[in-house]
Amino acid sequence: MSVTSQSPSNAAYRDPFFAGIILLLWVLLALFVLYPLACLFGRAFVDGGTISLQPLLDVLNNPHHRRAFGNSLILALAVGVGGTLLGFLFAFTAVRGGLSRRVIGFIDTATLLPLISPPFTISVAILFSFGARGLITYDLLGIKGFAIYGFMSTAAAEMITYFPIAYLTLRPILASIDPNIENAAFSMGASRARVFRTMTLPLSMPGIANAFLLLFACSLADFATPLILAGNDFPVLPTEAFLQITGQFDLRGGALLSILLLVPAAVVFFLQRYWLQGRSFVTVTGKAGSRSSVEILTPAMRFTLFALCGAVSIVVIYFYALLLFSSLVVAFGANHTFTFKHYHVIFTEGLPAIRDTLIIAAIGMPLGGIYGVVVGYLVARKQFWGRQSLELASMINYALPGTIVGIAYLLAFNDKPMELTGTAAIIIACYIFRYSPTGIRATIALLHQVDKSLEEASESLGAKSFTTFRRITLPLIMPAFFTGLGVVFIRSMTAISATIFLISINWTLVTVRILENMTELSLGPAAAFSVLVVVIVYVVLFLIGQMLARFRALEGGRVESILGG
């Protein structure tokens, strides 16, 4: 990276504006990431005032836990690779497929669904469709006693759930690669495969690496999907940690198991950094020519890409049709009489949860979006002492399973002077520090592609660093900002694992009501709540997209979608 060679190591601290921001970030990270983690470590390793590693050794010596550790790695690897491939396929098709706006709109809608659905929806839909009496396995194909539980179904469910994150990360990256470069190579006689292999793929590498990292971490931390689909022969660590705490009442064991999860998350993080180090991916240089419309894909290729994306989209839409159906019948599988009564229930009894969730999401969204862009910008653009640690610290809450983050927050913020339990603030803080890494990664990936000379030109013409950031960098990273903002909002509407420990008598959440309904066998209200969440998120994302389009039009720039394309 050119940045490394040009900047003195502590340049950012000499600028009072950035020094202040960095300090503020460290205070926030110390408070909301490191301190809770320290409380958790204290609980795990300190026994009656003395530090002991014996509990950790006990965990490592247990073959069942070792197996779960291995399984977690295999699963995360599979989901990371598979989900990134799927995301790349969608992003590439959307950007290069030459599809009409309407078709892209359809694909966008389908890919958004898994991202914005409340927990368990995909797992339960898979269970209903492919289980022993599944609509597809039994009713359609006539397979008796199909064994659904295990690695394959868990990996498939997680891939479908998380690939939209890869899509969101990769699409702005691919969109910012000037097709002229590809076309130039093509017109000079390179084959299509060669152009793809030597230009498109390497240029999108920062995005691919980031997408893989995000998906790997998502899968590593996911407990809801394996809880429903993994069965008994495929234990994974987050589920084991959850069971250790909520089943065995063993907080220490659960904490230890999830501390183990930090190891692979950190390894992947450093591998990815090491790998991207010293490579240049600059494609936005300020010198780019006008866009050419020459196509790099043959019609047959475009059709294949479209068919693949279409097939996946249809599967996703089928899952959600199932959800909509179960929200509109008396009891799914038993009584298929049409009814609105589940919606009546959620808008009467469920109203406080809906209101609380919306307030919390509305506050968390802008804060999370700003936080993501600021951290991403500083990490990618500024040199300062502790930069790598800052980046790593910002990723910790994302990589840890939610149950652990929830318990850590509960331990850290239950007592004075930092008593936050029972407030909305603890839930908002949890969302911001847990779900902004998508925005951070998106900002970093985008900035890896933007030549620093743009900002240097601005600074050498006398602009202050804040002005440069606002006038030059900010418009460039807007897509990443909206990706981050969108993800924080979506997660605020859909997350459960951490927040189940943070809700209180004053503040409750829709997702908790969904889980509650599922355990009460009230599939109807659970489905109705889920449909409502999907609708709200769509409406809000659409409104943000509209505002962004207006903002863009005023500034005379390109119109970007909320998805950052």
Binding site: H64, L127, F128, G131, A132, R133, G145, A147, Y149, L227, G231, N232, D233, L243, I245, T246, G247, Q248, F249, L251, V330, A331, F332, G333, A334, N335, I359, I360, A362, I363, P366, L367, I407, L410, L411, N414, D415, K416, E419, T421, G422, T423, A424, A425, I428, R470, I500, F501, I503, S504, I505, N506, W507, T508, E516, T519, E520, L521, S522, L523
Partner: protein, 344 residues
Amino acid sequence: MKLINRALKHVFAATTMTAALVVPMTSTYAAETLNVYSIWPENWARPMLQEFEKASGIKVNFLRFSSGEALARLIAEKGNPKVDVLFGGPVETFGAGVKEGIFEAYKPPSAAALPARFKHEGGMWTAIADDPLVFMTNKKFLADNKLQAPTSWNDLLNPAYTNMLQMADARTSGTAVTRIFSVLEVNGRNEDKAFDFLKKMRKSIQTYTKSGGGGTLPVGLGQAAGGIFFIVDALDTKAKGYDVEISFPKEGIGSAAEGIAMVKGSKNPEAAKKLIDWATSPAMQSLYAPNKINFVPAHPTVKTEASLAAILKDAKIIPIDDEYAGANRKRIIERWVQEVLNAK
């Protein structure tokens, strides 16, 4: 101009954040209030606690958690408890809570009338209901396989059930622990014999679910053929319209009490005691039947609702010996994980 706008946005965000912090503080003003974690689902806890509000004039705020989550929260909040009472949930959870030192001893007047297995010796918890286990099978599955509903533990070893039963995982569910102790009791507490049976039954298991009622919907839908559940969950499945049959093994099956306890460090101890007095007395337990809550009342003077009593009439229910279960629970679960769960 833009900068001002931006600054205004920050101010707005900061104000809403502060508002969010202040609102809950100002909203806890009422005269006498009581904060409760309920392990009973909302649709049972809400009517009961509303009746208590009417009877006592005390305002009750409650939040529902699964037993493990409620306990994990109470342990984490130990230094500064947020609630006064833990309401409902298997006695097992209360036993684990006693070990963690999260409860305050209180013996309600009704405790004297209860048999020993319905109360903690030191008064740390008291039972409010009893909940027997049952076999629940999908009727369509029975018809397809020309089977009768199982009436013996050994019926569950029938090859027709291979890979078709769902029941709870002993690491997470009190239902499962009660089930395993039932098998121990019917085998005269001969552990090797009991585990021999459990290992054989493993072949019939499709998956062990995390919660006690986790398998009821799959059985209702026919994804699984059957399982062993608490009677409340089984009757709820039936009430939802799923075509299931409830039966009992002739050798006998266990039952678990549901409890209530005061949280140590409660900020409203007098109100907490009033709720415990009320819940352990016939005042609350006579409301189970009108509210269609299929628990067996713990208080001896409250009659079991007629249709529930009819189902239980011929059932052989074995009370699980609390002392024996408490002393061996951990070891038995570990053995179950090693020999049964990880077998196959």
